[in-house]
Amino acid sequence: MSAKLSVTQQFNPGVRMGVAALGCLCSFAVFAAEPAAEFTTAIGAERRMELVTLVRQDCGSCHGLTLNGGLGPALLPDALQDKPAEYLKFVILRGRPGTAMPPWQRFLTDAEAQWIVSNLQKGFPSGR
């Protein structure tokens, strides 16, 4: 585990796919224990609302309330389509050193980050 972290800390496009593959192996276990369809039910409705507010408002302070980008890049489905889900989840949880993207793992579980990624990829709920 620690070996994996040291590689992923220096995340760059060159190693992206390799790490994504590693991440996939890792999350495979998660999927096996908890099928994707159950993600929504695993995270309660109230918490999902909190996550929508968090993404729209707090991620939105850099990525825009509409997620069309700001100081940070756009997080709309088009902008994310060629990025692996595991990579996106990693960036959310661990941040991107050298940029303004901070790590959110203090505030999000792995499953919550996964839920955010899958919703960003299909168009994030407005929360309104």
């Binding site: 507010t53 408002q57 707090d58 302070s61 825009g64 980008g69 700001g70």
Partner: protein, 394 residues
């Protein structure tokens, strides 16, 4: 009997005519202000004496991270929307007088010293656009190109400076540009390069002489003396976090709405739960004040006795009040969830604080810290009083 009835009708008609001619009650705008409702694209126009909303204006587009400046007569607010919308709002009539879409992704603006020019700073397409304050007609477009290729940087930290100049920073390029718009359609641009990594915002001192850019990519700030631009930009507060790992920053601090109290400037540290105190004679750090989280806004009460601080996620339910004589936090307040902004009334007896996730604006007495009122607003963010109209850098 009939005559009497006729007389009454005439009297009523006469009264109607007289009151009809008088029109709406006359009033000044000196105690008015605007509250941005970021999620609904609306603003409330408020009266800070009576602490009530007097009008609501809809249709301003995406107002996340919206800011505004005032015409020098204090009647119009120029609202800069995130989506590039620039709207001229009439405070007295409560309507949008003019509106243009001037960019794809915008971050704020400024008004010139003489009040005739409004400038917008844009992320996409990167650059500064300058408009007639009267008609919102585009007068100048200054793309923020840098490097070999025709890259354009995101523009931050736009401020007005004496001489009908605007000053701004290039986030991606690490540059400060000074534009002289005394001939608005023929701006003269002076560029200062290598000022430091990732300037995230800028401020101009109340006398309009010094421009400071905060750096996100390194510990320090860039300082430009506009009385002596030939001396170039220099670094101050170098390595203020030396040897210590930065804490994560969950919201970029703002420098506009600076805190200058006496000879000291109070600025947010980056990645540290501290406010840095700068001596504006020597430009050296003279003290640090420990606060509840990553500071976002650090704002002095108009008399300079107190400095109020709000915070980035996850400490954004708090507001700390620093007493400048004691050099420490003397009061902690919890106005509500997700405090985004604070604005003092013109002479500072009250402060208005927006709590986004509680959908309210709380008014405090700054002497006793007693709550003086609560206004409901939908996801309120910035609060702007018309006193800004007469201040350099606002």
């Amino acid at each position: 009997m009939v005559a009497k009835k006729l007389q009454a009708v005439w009297l009523a008609l006469a009264l109607f005519t007289v009151s009809g001619c008088a029109g709406p009650a006359l009033r000044g705008t000196g105690d008015l202000g605007v509250i941005i409702e970021r999620a609904t694209g609306s603003v409330q126009i408020v009266d800070s004496s009576k602490r009530v909303a007097i009008a609501s204006v809809q249709g301003l587009g995406d107002l996340s991270h919206a800011s505004l400046v005032y015409s020098r007569d204090g009647r119009y607010a120029y609202v800069f929307g995130r989506d590039g919308g620039l709207s001229k709002v009439d405070l007295l009539r409560g309507v949008i007088e003019r509106r243009v879409m001037q960019a794809g992704n915008s971050i704020g603006g400024a008004i010139s010293q003489d009040g005739t020019l409004v400038a917008a700073q844009n992320y996409v397409p990167g650059g500064v656009k300058v408009f007639s304050a009267d008609t919102l007609e585009l007068l100048a477009d200054v793309p923020s190109t840098f490097g070999d290729a025709e890259q354009r940087s995101k523009v931050v930290g736009l401020a007005d400076a004496p001489g009908n100049r605007f000053v701004w920073s290039l986030f991606d390029a690490g540059e400060i540009w000074v534009g002289d718009f005394s001939e608005p359609t023929k701006p003269r641009i002076e560029k200062f390069k290598n000022i430091g990594s990732q300037p995230y915002d800028g401020l101009i001192t109340p006398n309009g002489r010094f421009y400071l850019a905060g750096l996100f990519g390194e510990d320090g700030m860039a300082l430009l003396d506009l009385w002596h631009p030939e001396r170039g930009a220099r670094r101050i507060l170098n390595g203020y976090g030396k040897g210590q790992e930065k804490l994560p920053v969950y919201k970029m601090p703002h420098l506009r709405g600076w805190a200058v109290a006496g000879r000291y400037a109070y600025v947010p540290a980056i990645g540290r739960h501290e406010v840095l105190v700068l001596d504006m004679e020597s430009w050296l750090e003279v003290a640090r004040v420990k606060v509840a989280g990553q500071p976002v806004f650090v704002i002095a009460r108009p008399d300079g006795r107190q400095v109020w601080v709000n915070f980035a996620f996850p400490d954004n339910a708090n507001v700390d009040v620093i007493d400048v004589e004691q050099g420490s936090v003397v009061k902690q307040l919890t106005p509500g969830k997700a405090v985004l902004h604070m604005e003092f009334t013109p002479r500072g007896e009250s402060v208005w604080v927006s709590a986004r996730d509680d959908n309210r604006v709380v008014v405090y007495d700054t002497q006793s810290f007693a709550q003086r009122g609560v206004l409901s607003a939908e996801s309120p963010s910035g609060i702007f009083f018309t006193t800004r109209a007469a201040r350099i850098g606002f």
